[in-house]
Amino acid sequence: MHLASLSLLNFRNHNEISLQFDKRIVCFTGANGSGKTNLLDAVYYLAFCKSYFNPADHQIINHTEALMVVQGTFDDNNEELKIYCGLKRGQRKIFKKNGREYDRLSDHIGLISAVMISPTDHFLISGGSEDRRRFLDSVISMQDRSYLENLIAYNRFLLQRNSLLRSFAERNYFDEASIEVWDMQLSQVADVIHLKRKEFITSFATVFSDIYSQIGATREIPTLNYESPLEQGSAQEILTQNMQRDRMAGTTTSGIHKDDIEFQLDGFPLKKFASQGQQKTFLLSLKIAQYYWLKAANGGNPILLLDDIFEKLDNTRVERLFNLVASDNFGQVFITDTDAKRIKKAFLQTNIEPQFIPIV
């Protein structure tokens, strides 16, 4: 999948802009606030029907305008694919493929695959376990539909079980038989999800640490440690063990909804002991590993969106990253930076000539 042209109307700060892309690697350069990242976000928007940075659709429309349009022409194995998105303030957004409107947006998602790498990804390190679980779940469910179904079922069971525990606590009453039916169903899916997560992290970690050493070129050993209450016993055992505590708390205190991945560098927690550059390298490697998974799931090269890649990284690490993305393993790559010369220099070692688009 290759994006051949992009045209925007009132998308964020761009009133009207039309761009053609003829190279595999495209660099947007320009000063702060010129709208480089917004261009990457527009590409992301065409793939996922939403912004990577801003979940509120009405904030995507330029402040002074009432309507925005994003259009992209993709080349999918020599077949032309035109994606149109129009959004008027106060109305639902309209997505069209080759002029025909989609009945449901979810029908579109998956057609175009893309991975965004941005400084905002730092929440994966600084944020709560919930953020890391969401990342984990999104990567696994790309390849495994039944995983997603199990996850949805688990959340529903959990919600019902918690409601039941809360009503027990409020009414000072307990009914073993009622909680048992939820426990049995909850633990069935929990064990399946746990096993899948464990298997996945093992194989994902191998790919990930390989990428880390390619970009970092150091002997630092990065690890992904899967932490789950279910490492101590089956889901049913965990629920039985914690029954007293759950009753007191009026909620399910332990289970796969408390899973986390601990990020470590040389055996120490990344968040506390690693430098900013090391953390950034770690994040980059995670996202590129995600790219490989998406690629394997879809059987094509996803579009890679690299936002502000020089931030916190030294030049040699950027060069090694560019070496990696210049290889045949990658498809189209969009890069933003304030300094065109810096990118040119970083690409010197590769024999690829990027396309430069100055944004003013």
Binding site: R145, E149, Q160, D175, A177, S178, V181, M184, Q185
Partner: protein, 205 residues
């Protein structure tokens, strides 16, 4: 909407409480009723009042009836060895219209869902257990909705009711008849593969 009359507004509010009726539709109903004769309106109102005054729940199956026992439970032509568990009268009528079932019914009045504050004591589960004790059924067919809550209710009842000599079954889940496979959702299609049927058994005898 601003109504010139308090009485009209009150009537609109009442109609708008009905499922699927908004204030605009409610207003249409009221305007329509205003055009009617007094006698017609009185018959309409009377039939509404009679709903609560003259109907009651069947003492056996909880169906809505005007007598103690509903016509299905009282019918000598029904098979009294087979009991089908359904959620409410709508589901029961849907099953009746298939003309494939000749046994008796039990209306649960809901499915277990703690989020909505519905536990086993809020549905007629206790009475169902009593019926199973007393009436000596040989088969119990669960025909509840195929959601997580419906499945949980099936599971709860199964745990409470299983005993030697009682077969507990659920209605089949699978591809709709006359449907094309490519349009079936993955879960249904997946389930229909897991629970596939011996071809021999699908032939109409």
């Amino acid at each position: 909407m601003n109504f010139s009359s308090k009485i009209v507004e009150q009537a609109v509010d009442e109609f708008a409480k009905l499922p699927g009726v908004g204030r605009k539709t409610a207003f249409r109903f009221v305007v329509h009723l205003l055009k009617k004769d007094r006698s017609e309106l009185s018959a309409f109102a009377h039939s509404l009042l009679k709903l609560k005054e003259e109907t009651r729940e069947c003492k056996l199956c909880h169906n809505i009836t005007e007598t103690d026992i509903c016509s299905i439970c009282a019918s000598p032509r029904r098979d009294r060895k087979t009991l089908m568990v359904v959620e409410d009268i709508r589901d029961m009528l849907a099953i009746e219209s298939t003309e494939q079932f000749t046994g008796l019914y039990h209306l649960l009045g809901g499915v277990i869902s703690p989020i909505d504050g519905i536990g086993p004591s809020d549905i007629t589960a206790q009475h169902l257990m009593q019926r199973v004790q007393e009436e000596g059924f040989s088969e119990l067919i669960m025909a509840l909705r195929t959601t997580i809550e419906g499945d949980t209710t099936n599971f709860y009842l199964y745990k409470k009711l299983r005993r030697p000599g009682l077969k507990i079954t659920t209605i089949a889940r699978g591809v709709a008849i006359g449907g094309e496979l490519e349009y079936a959702d993955e879960i249904t299609l997946g389930r229909s593969i897991l629970h596939r049927l011996e071809y021999e058994n699908t032939l109409t005898k």
